[in-house]
Amino acid sequence: MSVQFFLQQCLIGLTNGALIALVALGYTMVYGIIGLINFAHGDLIMLGACLALTLVGALGLAAAGPAATWMGIILLVVLCGLFCGGLNVAVDRLVYKPLRTAPKLAPLVSAIGVSFIFMNVGLFWLGPSDRSFPELLPSTNLLGGEGLQVTWKDLLVLLVVAPLMVGLTLLVRTTRLGRAMRAVCQDPTAAALVGIDVDRVIAATFFIGGFLGGAASVIYGLYINTIGFQMGFQNGLYAFTAAVLGGIGSIPGAVLGGVVIGLVRALSSAYVSERWTGGIVFAILIVILVFRPEGLLGKRVKEKV
């Protein structure tokens, strides 16, 4: 149990956490804007991974040279992002929008339904057994030697996730759309009454959440190397937990929650046991929610009268 081992686990936790955070953002943004827990988000990412796998095959990336591989990965991230974003918007338009004024439970149950539909499409696409995602990146140690292992895969996760998160933060903080999103989050009626097209802002939110999810799906495939039609459920659950832990509705909260859960998972499987990981993660969630029901960075919401 050396320091180096500990650092190695932290690195694994960080990369895993970044991945979880990317998915958690999709949950937290949609929740923030329409108060819906989008249960279909995990399965949306599974479909993104399906597309990624198909595209890897179609583009012949497994046999490409290094430069082509990197170009291909960027292309995959963009295409899968657009695919998941577009699909998310379509689902919002077809399923959630007609239920906008319905009681909160109606869109929630519909989201579960959409999740099942996605899962079955995935079953159709991938088949019932897990599929291996080709190793596109060499797993040589970038630091060299026998010490800490940092591979291209670890770097890839951070290289893709960091700019996306910076971009998202800039978008929300400084642009017109971000302003409109924050306004709709706080008071959709008031926003509509000063001329904001609330449905468009909601659609944009679904698109951004879906785009991040699509990017996450590609990285998931490249990093974990195994995808299956049921991957959406478990990963969605962890990401949702991360969003709740960080304070659902809060964007920095989702990132923090993702990293915390990633680290806890990595460290508990290294130092305790793989089998206890889930238990430990959720025990920590319970403890934190007992003392901070609004999550780590969430704001206490006063019920509107």
């Binding site: 077809l94 929008k97 007609p98 004024t101 159709f124 971009g167 800039l170 978008l171 642009t175 017109r176 759309l177 302003r179 409109a180 924050r182 306004a183 706080q186 008071d187 009626t189 008031a190 926003a191 509509a192 009454l193 000063v194 001329g195 904001i196 097209d197 609330v198 449905d199 944009a204």
Partner: protein, 441 residues
């Protein structure tokens, strides 16, 4: 200041509320309200609490639709118009629904099984021609072979009927061919071929003639009938889904056709009785939200900060500062809206509403919770708003405000308009006095 395009248009009022009724379940909140707001005037609506004033405002600003009657602004109803694009979109959604229905009607999973999957199982390379062959075979209900638990099965093309199970692939093929011949003969009908489904006519009358399973007559009939009706089921599904999807989409669209943002974009803006600012955002940002649609550029333009987008932001920022100056909040632009004193929050809300370029401003009790000096300031502000060419419709309880600035006053009680006139007329009206003071005796 904004030029006023309707300055000369006498006759029709800017806002025409025509016999509007709002019901919530059995409760009638507003009953047959008639109200005209002429261009460039200040009209007040007064009445005891619960008289339906705010309900009328919500109805005008599109938060909920009137149960009966209509609201006209500049002579037209504030609704999204039913355009060809709307219809095309509805048809598109309908088509999607239709395809789903059709897929369900033709058993798309079995079709997939027959056309794509089975080829993979038997190890043939996938070709378009092969797939077309299998597709035709599916509709003709030809027999096929697939694999289950290591054994070869002779099945109907849709996989619904299992006719025989063999250990050996060649054996299975032979059985398939024999049975197929029997089915084909039945399809063509007696008379066209010798009335024997004799196995001697099968392609491989080899020494090791396969042992044929005994098939029931009705099964043979069913197989011979093929899946021709599947096509009709598919078309019917497509049509039914298309109609249903289109109608449903239009119904949903209909529900949202008079939404608040349509009203706001047409030129009506409002403030709320309990101030509804975006509390976590800065004062300037609050006003900028009101200017949102004046800034050009989509998501990509925003992220890349294209010159057009940046110029738009700059212009909007300038206009926002002008509005803040107009209401007297210049120094507070950078503060968080929720931290302003109450009176300032009200003025910020007015600035945000004005920023939308509204021609009609609905103010819902702007003086509530203000002290006398703030109230005087507010009165001046409302007059200045009118002088800018913005028409004001006001709900207010402070009678000195109402009586001083209103051109006309309407009085509501229990959802019914009991009086309307100039402030002087209203002061003398007996029904109004009764409503406010209660009837004597």
């Amino acid at each position: 200041m904004k030029p006023n395009p309707f300055a000369g248009a006498a006759g029709s009022p800017l806002l025409d509320v025509d016999r509007v009724t709002v019901r919530f379940g059995g409760l009638v909140a507003v009953s047959e309200l008639d109200l005209d707001v002429p261009q460039g005037s200040i009209v007040s609506v007064i009445g005891p609490n619960g008289a339906g004033k705010t309900t009328a405002f919500n109805c005008i600003s599109g938060i909920y639709p009137p149960s009966a009657g209509s609201v006209r602004f500049k002579g037209r109803r504030l609704e999204r118009s039913f355009s060809a694009a709307t219809f095309a979109r509805a048809m598109g959604v309908g088509l999607l629904t239709g395809l789903l229905f059709a897929a369900a009607a033709v058993d798309v999973d079995r079709l997939w099984m027959a056309v794509v999957k089975r080829g993979m199982i038997t190890g043939e390379p996938f070709t378009a021609a092969g797939a077309m062959d299998r597709l035709r075979g599916y509709f003709r209900a030809e027999l096929a072979i697939d694999q289950m638990a290591g054994k070869w099965r002779v099945v109907s093309a849709d996989g619904a009927e299992v006719l025989a199970i063999k250990r050996d692939l060649t054996e299975a093929r032979r059985v398939r061919d024999a049975l197929q011949a029997a089915v084909t003969a039945r399809r063509i009908g007696p008379g066209t071929v010798p009335d024997s489904t004799d196995l001697a006519t099968t392609p491989e009358p080899a020494a090791s003639a396969p042992e044929l399973p005994k098939l029931k007559e009705e099964l043979l009939d069913r197989l011979a009938a093929g899946k021709r009706n599947v096509r009709w089921r598919g078309w019917a599904g497509l049509l039914a889904g298309w109609l249903l999807g289109t109608a449903g989409t239009i119904a949903v669209w209909q529900r949202g056709r008079r939404s608040p943002h349509v009203v706001a974009r047409a030129g009506i803006s409002r403030t709320f009785q309990n101030v509804r600012l975006f509390h976590n955002m800065s004062v300037l940002e609050n006003v900028l939200v009101g200017l949102d649609r004046t800034i050009p550029g989509g998501v990509l333009a925003m992220l890349l900060r294209t010159p057009a987008n940046r110029r738009g932001e700059d212009v909007a920022r300038g206009r926002a500062l002008e509005e803040l100056e107009f209401v007297g909040l210049t120094g507070d632009a950078g503060r968080i809206a929720g931290q302003l004193p109450y009176g300032d929050q009200r003025r910020l809300e007015i600035a945000r509403a004005l920023a939308t370029g509204a021609e009609l401003l609905l103010l819902d009790e702007p003086a509530a919770g203000m002290n006398p000096s703030e109230t005087v300031q507010l009165t001046g502000l409302i007059e200045r708003i009118r002088n800018r060419g913005v028409t004001v419709l006001l709900i207010e309880h402070h009678m000195n405000v109402v009586m001083r600035i209103s051109d006309r006053v309407a009085v509501l009680d229990h959802g019914i308009k009991i009086a309307e006139g100039t402030p002087a007329e209203i002061k003398r009206d007996e029904k109004v006095i009764e409503a406010y003071l209660g009837s004597e005796g």
